[in-house]
C-alpha cells in the first residue's frame, strides 16, 4: 500500500504551526506506515489530530489579558474615529456592532499570527506583523460586506482611520507586553 503522497503531507504541514510541525508530521507518518491502509489512516488521523494541535498551540501562545487589552484598544480606535468624524453613525441600527467587526477579525489574525509564528524569530518589526496582517483581514472583511451585506460596512474614512489607530495601539501593546510565544513550545 502506498503511503500518503508528498503533496498531501505538504498540505498537512501547512496547517500545523511551525513550532510543532516536524514532530507531528513525523508521528503521523510513522503511525500510518504500520496501518493496513496508510493513505486512509493518514487522512483520518491528520483530520483528528491537527485541529487539537492548533488549539493547543493557540492556548500556549495566547495571553488572555493581552488579548482583552487588544480588543479594547481596537474597539476604542474605531469608536474614537467614528465619534470624531461621523457621530450619527453610532446611533444608527447596529452602529456600535458594525464598529466591532474589523476589531474581531484583527484579533483573530493576531491570535493566529502568534500561533503560527516561527520560534526564535522575534524582533520588534515582527511584532507589527500581526496587527498589519489583521488590518489586511479587516479590509478584506469590509470588502466582503460591501459586496454582500452593504448595511454592515463602515464608512471608508472610519475604517482607514480606525484601522491605522488600531495598528498603532496594538503594535505598541505588543512591544510593551511581548506575546508568550518566544520559546519553541510556547510558554515554558
Amino acid at each position: 500500500m502506498p503511503g500518503p503522497p508528498k503533496a498531501m503531507q505538504a498540505g498537512v504541514a501547512l496547517l500545523i504551526p511551525p513550532a510543532c510541525r516536524v514532530e507531528v508530521l513525523g508521528d503521523l507518518l510513522e503511525r500510518s506506515a504500520s496501518a493496513r491502509n496508510p493513505l486512509t489512516h493518514y487522512c483520518i488521523e491528520a483530520a483528528l489530530t491537527v485541529p487539537l494541535v492548533i488549539m493547543s498551540r493557540i492556548r500556549r501562545t495566547t495571553d488572555l489579558q493581552l488579548l482583552l487589552m487588544h480588543a479594547l484598544a481596537l474597539y476604542l480606535s474605531y469608536f474614537t474615529v467614528a465619534w470624531l468624524t461621523d457621530r450619527t453613525m453610532l446611533w444608527e441600527p447596529w452602529g456600535l456592532l458594525r464598529l466591532a467587526f474589523p476589531g474581531v477579525v484583527t484579533l483573530l489574525a493576531l491570535v493566529l499570527e502568534d500561533a503560527y509564528a516561527k520560534p526564535r524569530h522575534r524582533s520588534p518589526l515582527r511584532l507589527a506583523h500581526g496587527p498589519l496582517f489583521g488590518l489586511g483581514w479587516a479590509l478584506l472583511l469590509e470588502a466582503g460586506f460591501w459586496t454582500s451585506l452593504p448595511s454592515l460596512t463602515l464608512p471608508l474614512w472610519i475604517l482607514l482611520g480606525g484601522g491605522s489607530l488600531g495598528l498603532l495601539l496594538t503594535s505598541a501593546l505588543r512591544l510593551l507586553f511581548s506575546p508568550p510565544s518566544i520559546s519553541p513550545q510556547g510558554r515554558v
Binding site: 516536524v22 488521523e45 483528528l48 513550545q185 515554558v188
Partner: protein, 129 residues
C-alpha cells in the same frame, strides 16, 4: 520541595507512559502506551499532544528534539522526560490510587480482587495483579 499541581486521570496516564517508555518517550510511543493503559477506551493522538503541552507548561515534563530518522521521512522526534515535579505528582497519584484500592478491597473483599484478576488476565497485554 515545590508542591506538585494536582493532575487529572488522563494526565496521570500520560505521565505513567513517559515513565514507562524511559528514553524512548515520544509522541507515537507515548500514545501507544496510553492506549494500552486506558484500554478499552480509544485515545486520540491529538489528545496526547494537548496533554503533553499542558504538562510541559506545568513544568512536570521537559521536551527536546531528537535527530531525524528515515522511517519518519527524515523528521525528528520530540522526546519527553519527567521532571521532579512530574515525578512527585505521579507519586502522589499512585499513593491516592493505592488508598482507593485498599478502601475498596476492605469493603468488597478478596473475592472481588480474584474476580478482577481473572477479568484482567483475559485482556490483551495485561498481567494479573
Amino acid at each position: 520541595m515545590a508542591k506538585a499541581d494536582s493532575v487529572g486521570q488522563f494526565e496521570q496516564l500520560v505521565l505513567t507512559a513517559i515513565l514507562a517508555r524511559r528514553d524512548d518517550a515520544y509522541g507515537v510511543s507515548i500514545h501507544s502506551k496510553v492506549e494500552e493503559l486506558a484500554h478499552p477506551k480509544a485515545v486520540s493522538l491529538g489528545a496526547v499532544y494537548v496533554t503533553l503541552d499542558r504538562l510541559e507548561d506545568k513544568g512536570m515534563i521537559r521536551s527536546w528534539l531528537s535527530d531525524p530518522t528515515p522511517e519518519r521521512g527524515g523528521r525528528a522526534k520530540r522526546c519527553y522526560r519527567l521532571e521532579a515535579l512530574g515525578e512527585k505528582a505521579l507519586e502522589e497519584s499512585a499513593v491516592t490510587a493505592k488508598r482507593i484500592w485498599d478502601g475498596i478491597v476492605e469493603v468488597w473483599g478478596k473475592e472481588w480482587v480474584r474476580g478482577l484478576n481473572k477479568e484482567w488476565g483475559k485482556r490483551p497485554g495485561r498481567e494479573p495483579a
